[in-house]
Every structure is written in structure tokens, then in C-alpha cells.
């Protein structure tokens, strides 16, 4: 990983550490927490889309598996948060393998279809397995995260927890991108034929990245469940999966920083759009379309490109 990325990482660390000094109030802090949680999911998705060239239309399934695993295991079975947390990761990996191996063996976007399916199946299971999940009315009283005797009971503490994990994930992802594995991933995007002729095992790499993205989503889901202490199936439906995808594309999928940016923007935007009351969906859709039309490569690459375009036009 280059020096530049270390500097950026350090910069982000300082911003994250300092932000609570400027922003007060539980409401704003909780938005920052959600940004971190969504950012974690989208980071995994960005590795999958931008680097492995695959689409997952069911990332909310893994997010949900993480959330329900910790939720159900801690409330119904009294397991410790950590056991539940790792069980969620384990289950996500199993599901990712079951879906990924058959779908990623093949060329093309079968993963998109398979994940769409698994996303809905998981959603339906959350709804119908009443005795465990509480069905449509949800699961409540999920305990707070603690480290020994230290309780992550308020938004500020949780904020640092979430963003701490987020930075670790970012560090991990950046390391991967700037390594033999990362180059193999990018080469696959450049030319699958040439990549495999150079000895890159395409399907194995794709499955690995898919599993990694599932793990990120599962961790994010567990964090979500413990932060809000109440989960219902609607937090993990198709629209949520699509939203994660959208965050990735809007931020710019070929850049892991774009994932964080897109997640932050789209977490913040709907909150802001509440002033439009019931027409928020209309305004929201319009904004998304405008961004996509003028910056199809996402914000991080799109803003400089758009700027150049406008600047050039003025000159000529």
C-alpha cells in the first residue's frame, strides 16, 4: 500500500476522532454510526463489484444474517455477544459458499441472480420463522455491546466502536488491493482470458472476495442489531440490498474510498430529505438519477471529470 493511502488513512482517523467534538446530539451521532455501518457493507461490496466485477443484489441477506444471529442468540439463548457475533460470521460464510461456488464457477453475472434469490429467501425466513425471529413485528431488547465491563451504551461510544472496526476493515481492504491478490483481482477486470492465462484462478478469487464481502456485511449487521436493539425483516429486504449497491455506484466502485463516501452520502441524504415529507422518494429518486447521469463513474471520479468538462467548455 502506497504512502498516499497511509496518509489518507491517517487523515480519516483524525477526522473520525475529532468529529464528535464538533457534532453533538444523539441524533447526529447516530447518523454517523449508520454511516459507519453502511460503509462497512459497501466496502465489501466495492471489493466485489469494483475489483472482482461481480454484482450482489442480496447483500442485505448477510447483513441480516449477522443481525439476526446476534439478536436471536443473545436474546433467546443467552449466548455471549462474541459467540453470537462469530456465529453470524460463520453462517454468512457458509451461505456465501453455498451460493457463491455454483454461481461463480461460471462466467457472467449469475451471482447477481443467485444473490437476488438468496436475499429474498433470507428475508422470507426472517418473516416466517416467528418463534425465533418474531416475524414481521421484529425482535427487540437486543443487549448492548460490552468489552469486559465497558458498555458501549451511548451513541458516542458506539460511534468509536463502529468507526474503529470500519478503519480496520479499510486497512485490510487497502492492503489486499495493493497486493498480489489485489492485482490478480484487477487483472481479472482488465481481461479474464489473460488473467487466467497468467495463472489467476478466477472462480476461486471471486468466491474469496464474495466471502469477504459477506463477512463485512455480517459484522455490520451485528453492529446494527446491537446499536438499535430492535430489528425487523424490513431492515434487510431487497430495497436495502439495492441501496447498498447504489451507495457503491454513487461513490464510485473502482475505488474503496468511494464506498465510504457513497455510504455516507446516501445515509445522510434521506435524513435530510425528510423535509419533503411523503414525497421524499420522488426527490430521492431524482437526485440519484441526476448523480448517475452526470457522474456515471461515481462521485470520486465523477466530480473531477465533471469539473474538467465544464472548465474546458468555458475555455473554448
Amino acid at each position: 500500500m502506497g504512502k498516499q493511502n497511509y496518509l489518507k488513512l491517517l487523515g480519516l482517523l483524525i477526522v473520525i476522532a475529532g468529529l464528535p467534538l464538533l457534532i453533538r446530539g444523539d441524533y447526529y451521532l447516530s447518523i454517523l454510526v449508520f454511516m459507519g455501518i453502511n460503509g462497512l457493507v459497501v466496502m465489501g461490496l466495492s471489493l466485489l463489484m469494483g475489483y472482482a466485477g461481480q454484482i450482489s443484489m442480496g447483500q442485505a441477506a448477510f447483513y441480516g444474517i449477522g443481525a439476526y444471529c446476534t439478536g436471536v442468540l443473545t436474546t433467546h439463548f443467552g449466548l455471549s455477544i462474541y459467540t453470537a457475533f462469530f456465529f453470524g460470521i460463520f453462517l454468512s460464510i457458509v451461505v456465501a459458499i453455498l451460493v457463491g461456488i455454483p454461481a461463480l464457477r461460471l462466467k457472467g453475472h449469475y451471482l447477481a441472480v443467485a444473490t437476488l434469490g438468496i436475499g429474498e429467501i433470507v428475508f422470507i425466513v426472517f418473516n416466517e420463522w416467528m418463534s425465533l425471529t418474531g416475524g414481521p413485528s421484529g425482535l427487540s431488547n437486543i443487549p448492548v455491546v460490552h468489552l469486559g465491563n465497558f458498555q458501549f451504551a451511548n451513541s458516542l461510544r458506539f460511534y468509536y466502536l463502529v468507526w474503529g472496526i470500519n478503519l480496520l476493515a479499510l486497512f485490510f481492504s487497502l492492503n489486499i488491493i495493493h497486493s498480489r491478490v489485489g492485482r490478480a483481482l484487477r487483472s481479472m477486470h482488465g481481461s479474464e482470458t489473460a488473467a487466467s492465462a497468467m495463472g489467476v484462478n478466477l472462480s476461486f478469487l471471486k468466491i474469496q472476495v464474495f466471502i469477504l464481502s459477506a463477512v463485512f456485511a455480517s459484522i455490520a449487521g451485528s453492529l446494527y442489531a446491537h446499536f438499535v436493539s430492535f430489528i425487523s425483516p424490513n431492515n434487510f429486504g431487497l430495497m436495502v440490498s439495492i441501496m447498498f449497491l447504489m451507495m457503491g455506484v454513487i461513490g464510485g466502485i473502482h475505488n474503496i474510498w468511494g464506498a465510504l463516501f457513497g455510504a455516507s452520502l446516501l445515509t445522510f441524504l434521506p435524513e435530510y430529505l425528510r423535509v419533503f415529507d411523503q414525497y421524499d422518494i420522488l426527490v430521492y429518486g431524482a437526485i440519484l438519477l441526476l448523480i448517475l447521469l452526470f457522474m456515471p463513474e461515481g462521485f470520486l471520479e465523477g466530480v473531477p471529470a465533471l469539473y474538467r468538462k465544464l472548465f474546458k467548455r468555458k475555455k473554448s
Binding site: I176, R183, G190, S196, A197
Partner: protein
């Protein structure tokens, strides 16, 4: 005579009802430069795609170093020591010159996703070696100064060279070159033949598909001629040149010696 490096036995390939390769057999001895020539559509590139596992074989067998590689997948074949270039250049356009060569090193190293993510010591050691190997190759071909440039921004001749370097980075025993001189001018072609000699002198066996007859006749130790997916002649360049069937295949002696 010891076992040939590459042995192709009664190879057959059909795309739907179309027979691209019909009962094709050939031997490539270690240390040779062997060429496969033939008119357009004769099945030369298909042959490469079969050897490297891009297309499944319909019938027949391919042995490399005495081992059957017929059913292996492309990356497994690459790991065994067969590397290749492409007729239509297949560089990684989203990466720079150096990174393209670094991908070539892929099969020679092991460090995986977890080691990379955590920057374990063995991964850092691998990275240094990959970098050094790649830079060394670029220096050999005089491309080191362009290491940071996007791969596809190079002129055609250098792109072709870069593809060969990328293939060499995997430290192959056998290198398949698919029309390395296509689109090159005379002086570039001469440099290409120097490069091919240099590679052969490192002990790497070369199987070549080429249309530039001057180059083929100059550098080949042996030539196999294919037409309609069948081998119609094989032997030393002079022998092949005077084979009536070969002349017939090239429409009455259309072989260019220019």
C-alpha cells in the same frame, strides 16, 4: 531421444458442427523454436486455446513434460509452466506497465487474501520479490522508464513486448507466441526476433504462430503447417517451403518473403 516437452496427440475440436481442429498431432522438443503456420482460419489460434485450456478439447490428448494436461483449467496449465501471448493484445488496460508484469508473477507466489489483508511478513517478502523480478524484466527490454505508464498507452510494438514480458514473469518452460510480429514494421520485427532468440537462449521452448514468413523462416527450428485444422506438412523450414501441398494451401505459392 528423450520425451518431448509438449506432445499433442490426435487433437480434435468442434464448435457446434464446425470442425476447427481435425486429428492434429505434433511434438515440440525442449529448447526448440517451433512454428505453426497456415492460412487464416486454419485453426492456429484455436490450437493455442486448446493447449492453454481456454476451450475444452473435443477429443485427443495433450501432454506436457510427460503429464496429461488435456482437462486442466487455464490457471492450472499456467502453473505447470505454459505461458502465452495473444493475437489481439490482451494487456490489462486498467493497470500500468509494471503491474501488468507483476500479475505475470502470480503463479510463482502463494501469499493469499488473509496474509495480504494483514500484511504478514511472508506477504511482504513476496511483494518485494515480485517487484524486483518485474523490474528486472522491464529493464531487460528497455521498458523500465515506462513502468508507471498505463499499459495500453504504449505503442503497439512495446505492447507486444510487454505481453511477452508478462508471460515470461511466470517463468514458463514453454512460451506460446500468437503472431508476435503482426502489425510491426521491419525494424520492430527484427527486434522481436532478437527478443525471441534471447528467450530461447534462457532455455525456454517457444511455440510460435505467425504470418510473417520472413520471420518464421529465419528463426524456426521446425515448422508445422496446418490447413482446415489438419497438419499438411512438418519439418525444417527449407523442406516445408518446397512442399507442394503447402504451396497449394497458400493459393499457388502466395508465401511472402518480402
Amino acid at each position: 531421444m528423450s520425451e518431448a516437452l509438449l506432445k499433442i496427440q490426435n487433437l480434435k475440436k468442434a464448435f457446434g458442427g464446425l470442425l476447427a481442429i481435425v486429428d492434429f498431432s505434433v511434438l515440440v522438443e525442449a529448447g526448440q523454436i517451433k512454428s505453426v503456420i497456415g492460412p487464416n482460419g486454419a485453426g492456429k489460434t484455436t490450437l493455442f486455446n486448446l493447449i492453454t485450456g481456454v476451450h475444452p478439447v473435443s477429443a485427443g490428448k495433450i501432454f506436457f513434460q510427460g503429464k496429461d494436461i488435456t482437462r486442466l483449467r487455464p490457471h492450472q496449465i499456467a502453473a505447470r509452466g505454459i505461458s502465452r501471448t495473444f493475437q489481439t493484445i490482451e494487456l490489462f488496460g486498467n493497470m500500468n506497465v509494471l503491474e501488468n508484469v507483476m500479475v505475470g508473477c502470480h503463479t510463482r507466489f502463494r501469499s493469499g487474501m488473509l496474509a495480504s489483508g494483514l500484511r504478514l511478513p511472508n506477504m511482504r517478502r513476496d511483494e518485494t520479490r515480485i517487484y524486483q523480478n518485474s523490474i528486472k524484466l522491464l529493464q531487460m527490454a528497455g521498458l523500465a522508464s515506462k513502468a508507471e505508464m498505463p499499459a495500453t498507452s504504449l505503442p503497439l510494438g512495446e505492447q507486444k513486448t510487454l505481453e511477452i514480458l508478462r508471460a515470461l514473469a511466470s517463468e514458463p518452460r514453454l512460451l506460446l507466441l500468437d503472431e508476435p510480429a503482426a502489425g510491426l514494421n521491419e525494424s520492430e520485427t527484427d527486434r522481436m526476433s532478437e527478443l525471441i532468440y534471447a528467450i530461447r537462449d534462457q532455455g525456454i521452448t517457444i511455440l510460435l504462430v505467425e504470418h510473417d514468413m520472413r520471420l518464421v523462416m529465419k528463426i524456426s527450428d521446425e515448422i508445422a503447417v496446418v490447413n482446415y485444422g489438419q497438419k499438411i506438412a512438418e519439418g525444417h523450414p527449407e523442406v516445408v517451403q518446397n512442399d507442394p501441398q503447402v504451396i497449394e494451401a497458400y493459393l499457388g505459392g502466395d508465401i511472402e518473403y518480402a
